[in-house]
Amino acid sequence: MRMRLVPDNTNVDFFGRWKLWLGISGVMMIVAFASFMVQGLNYGIDFRGGTTIRTSSTQSVDVGAYRDAISPLGLGDITITEVFDPSFAADRNVAMIRIQAQDDQEAVTAELIADVESALAATVPDISFESVESVGPKVSGELIQTAVIAVVLAIGAVLIYIWLRFEWQFAAGAVLALVHDVLLTIGVFSELQIRFDLAIIAALLTIVGYSLNDTVVVFDRVRENLIKYKKMPLKEVLNTSINETLSRTIMTSLTTMLALVAMFVLGGDVIRGFVFAMMWGILVGTYSSIFVASAILLYLGVKRDWTKTDAKSGTQFADIDA
């Protein structure tokens, strides 16, 4: 007896309202972009410069007292938040203190950190500093730049790969789906003001990889079915292909999601933002490979006669590994 998530023969009509799906995706992308433009991202110190100090104490965190201890130092904007996590022991109270980059400093100041630490230690005797991170403004600007370049490069590389392996319409569909996923993920981070740091960039690129994985599997089947059913309308070929790969799509998304949920719940608060980004990315990536990538393919249309080799197209590359 097998557990079946998806019946063997499904015939869901994914493209009955494909224009609607594209429209919804478009609106969501606009909302995400607008949110990014209006309220921006809650950049961590990686991208903004400054210092974060993570403290731990057996006494409960009194944010006011912490603030009173630090504010005489005149460091400008200070954010103090208490961190809660189910994995903490009862007498472990953790706080994150974020200090903005100081205006006149290109580099990191050791004195500043030492001053803050001693001021806090005077208020809370048993305080310990679990981690202290400082990034100077000089580097943080560069970090944003390399991060953006990395994402753009990844998407560009993928565009070329798919174009060589399939046809340009496939590449356009896949890349638009990727842009969709990245934008929506950035949108969620902007909406919920979750801290956005270097690790999130890693997550974003993983989402790019995952979403692509999904899209490529569907496209691979589409290519196969295009050859198999030469007379079938494109819409039906796409529908059939997605139905045929549906149980695989659901299975893989679920196993990955299972692994990530375990990490989200049990992996500790340090990594939670990172895991959240990947979970969201898998949801969006699974959706986009069907409703964005394939819908775009339907919109653009594809060459149907795959038997004759067309010197101008990239199809002869399609057999590279076969």
């Binding site: 097998r2 063997d8 994995s87 290109e106 580099a107 990191v108 050791a110 950190i113 310990s128 500093f129 679990e130 981690s131 202290v132 400082s134 990034v135 100077g136 000089k138 580097v139 390399t146 991060a147 370049i149 990395a150 990844a154 590389a157 790969y161 798919i162 270097l198 690790a199 960039i201 890693a202 993983t206 790019v208 990889g209 995952y210 692509l212 994985n213 490529v216 599997v217 691979d220 790969t245 149980s247 695989r248 893989t252 196993t255 990955t256 299972l258 692994a259 990530l260 375990a262 990490m263 719940v265 049990l266 992996g267 500790g268 340090v270 990594i271 895991v275 990947m278 590994d321 076969a322």
Partner: protein, 553 residues
């Protein structure tokens, strides 16, 4: 039909066995680590019974490579420093002044008196009193220039010399600046490495980044401030001619001179020529020792160039005082009694034995050629690291178990094959990481979790294909074969695209991001291997034994 050559079978099982063998030490992390540290300690400082006991905890015939734990897991300090390479230009030009003066002095009749002018740090400005002699002066100063020794700048000269009216401006040429920057970086790297090695911590990472940056990561150091103290202690030793001495720190020193305090006498200041005769960079050795009165001292030896300069100067200046300057304090200013040939000497001062030992260490390691500016510093406490490891371990195990159960429920016996392959996959991943000395970071653990989730993808693709083929009522053997065949192109395409992103992440990222890219990339390679070859081999063996008429996937 379903056949795999013997040599392929041997190769597949061999790879799996090798992976298991190589990854095994990680199950006994603490013990193997103790063993490795003890082996290192014995080669450095000889054997003791405790060390031998530690070595014996792990047998020699077993592999002892471990996955490095990143700073975010082990705790430690991370620093990104920018080397102020331009510092070196200034000291180069300062050192040039005596040469310029000595070159022009014999031609006093033509050029008149020669005076150093205050100017920007990256240029040396010299005024001559007879502008008519400018042509001759330029000729002489240009004669001091030397060809730049570097591959890219062959043929260019190291100095740019310009004369306007009665003033000569000397700057370093572009080619020389580049060559100097490169030298400064190499030297800084070497000195930082030596200083950190003196402290003797485990596996520090010291890397050059870009044109003028150095990344330093040291596990197990309590804080970045501590690490900075180790790196930042300069021991700039110079020997400078003494112009005079007095009690006023604010007195005018005169151009080309500086006023420095005496180290052991309050209120005493020396006026010194800024350009040193010899610097600590020309030292080849420094040892703690004792002077003739039995007080702690440091003896030193110069390289041939330094020895010659030192010898010449002492021969020419018998009877004049000579200052030994350490970190901008005059340690002592003995009067030169005789020509000191051979290039060795002794520094005396009010040292304790410990101070003289430390000073010798600092002198040996050398001074940093240029100042450092710290752009980024991170400290992760060991407790936080341990917490992250614990949480990561539990999460990975739960994720793993969930995926195993899920696969079994979905595919039955075939799911079991996929699960065994998945376990081999993780072992292989750890094996490769141990072999290449890869670093496991917190995002790296997430990368492994993701690999677990995605590793099954290849198998899912294959199994779903086999199901489809079974529906079209071919024999089971044919269905299995076609399943693998047809799924291959999707597997290859899907995984190649992910590899592309992993490579880009690795190239662009740093620190934890890089760690993530490594585990993700390796995870894809190992998972494709186990999903395609290992499961297939298991299925083929099972099929060959049982020869079922029908199969259920």
């Amino acid at each position: 039909m379903l056949q795999i050559d013997l040599w392929k079978r041997v190769l597949i099982w061999g790879t799996v066995a090798l992976g298991l063998w190589l990854s095994m030490p990680n199950l006994f992390y603490g013990r193997v680590e103790g063993h490795n540290d003890a082996v290192k300690a014995i080669t450095q400082s000889g054997e003791t019974p405790e060390l031998a006991a530690q070595v014996a905890q792990w047998p020699d015939f077993l592999p002892s490579g471990l996955v490095n734990l990143g700073l975010d897991l082990r705790g430690g300090a991370h620093l990104l420093a920018e080397v102020r390479v331009a510092d070196v230009y200034q000291s180069r030009l300062e050192a040039l002044w005596p040469e310029v003066r000595d070159a022009l002095r014999p031609e006093r009749a033509v050029v008149g008196t020669v005076r150093l002018q205050p100017g920007p740090a990256d240029a040396l400005r010299v005024k001559i009193s007879q502008p008519g002699g400018m042509a001759r002066a330029l000729e002489l100063v240009r004669g001091l220039a030397q060809p730049v020794v570097s591959l890219t700048a062959a043929g260019s000269s190291d100095l740019d010399v310009q004369g306007v009216d009665d003033e000569i401006t000397i700057t370093l040429s572009e080619a020389e600046r580049e060559a100097t920057d490169d030298r400064t970086m190499r030297q800084s790297l070497e000195i930082i490495r030596r200083r950190i090695d003196e402290v003797g911590t485990r596996e520090p990472t010291i890397q050059r980044q870009g044109a003028d940056r150095i990344l330093i990561q040291v596990p197990g150091v309590g804080s970045a401030a501590e690490l900075k103290a180790i790196i930042g202690t300069t021991a700039q030793l110079t020997f400078q001619p003494v112009v005079g001495r007095g009690s006023d720190a604010q007195a005018s020193a005169g151009i080309g001179n500086e006023i420095l305090p005496a180290a052991d006498e309050e209120g005493l200041y020396y006026t010194l020529e800024q350009a040193p005769v010899v610097t600590g960079e020309e030292l080849v050795d420094a040892q703690p020792s004792f002077d003739q009165n039995g007080r702690p001292a440091v003896s030193f030896r110069f390289n041939p160039a330094g020895a010659r300069k030192f010898g010449d100067y002492t021969a020419d200046n018998i009877g004049s005082p000579f200052a030994i300057v350490l970190d901008s304090e005059v340690i002592s200013a003995p009067v030169i009694q005789s020509h000191i040939a051979g290039g060795s000497g002794i520094i005396t001062g009010n040292f304790s034995v410990e101070e003289s030992t430390n000073l010798a260490v600092l002198l040996r390691a050398g001074a940093l050629p240029a100042g450092l500016e710290f752009l980024e510093e991170r400290t992760v406490g060991p407790e936080l690291g341990q917490d992250s490891i614990d949480a990561g371990k539990i999460a990975t195990m739960v994720a793993f178990a969930a995926v195993l159960v899920f696969m079994f429920l979905s595919y039955g016996l075939f799911g079991v094959f996929a699960n065994i392959a998945l376990i081999f996959n993780i072992a292989l991943l750890f094996g490769v990481l141990s072999l290449i000395g890869g670093t496991l970071t917190l995002p790296g653990i997430a990368g492994i979790v993701l690999t677990v989730g995605m590793a099954v993808d290849a198998n899912v693709l294959v199994f779903e294909r086999i199901r489809e083929e079974l529906r079209t009522a071919r024999g089971p053997a044919r269905a299995i074969e076609l399943g693998y065949e047809k799924a291959l192109s999707a597997i290859v395409d899907a995984n190649l695209t992910t590899i592309i992103t992993a490579v880009i992440l690795f190239a662009m990222g740093s620190g934890p991001v890089r760690g993530f890219a490594i585990t993700l990339g390796l995870g894809i390679v190992t998972s494709v291997f186990t999903a395609i070859y290992v499961t297939r081999l298991m299925i083929v063996i099972w099929f060959g034994r049982t020869r079922p008429k029908t199969i259920e996937v």
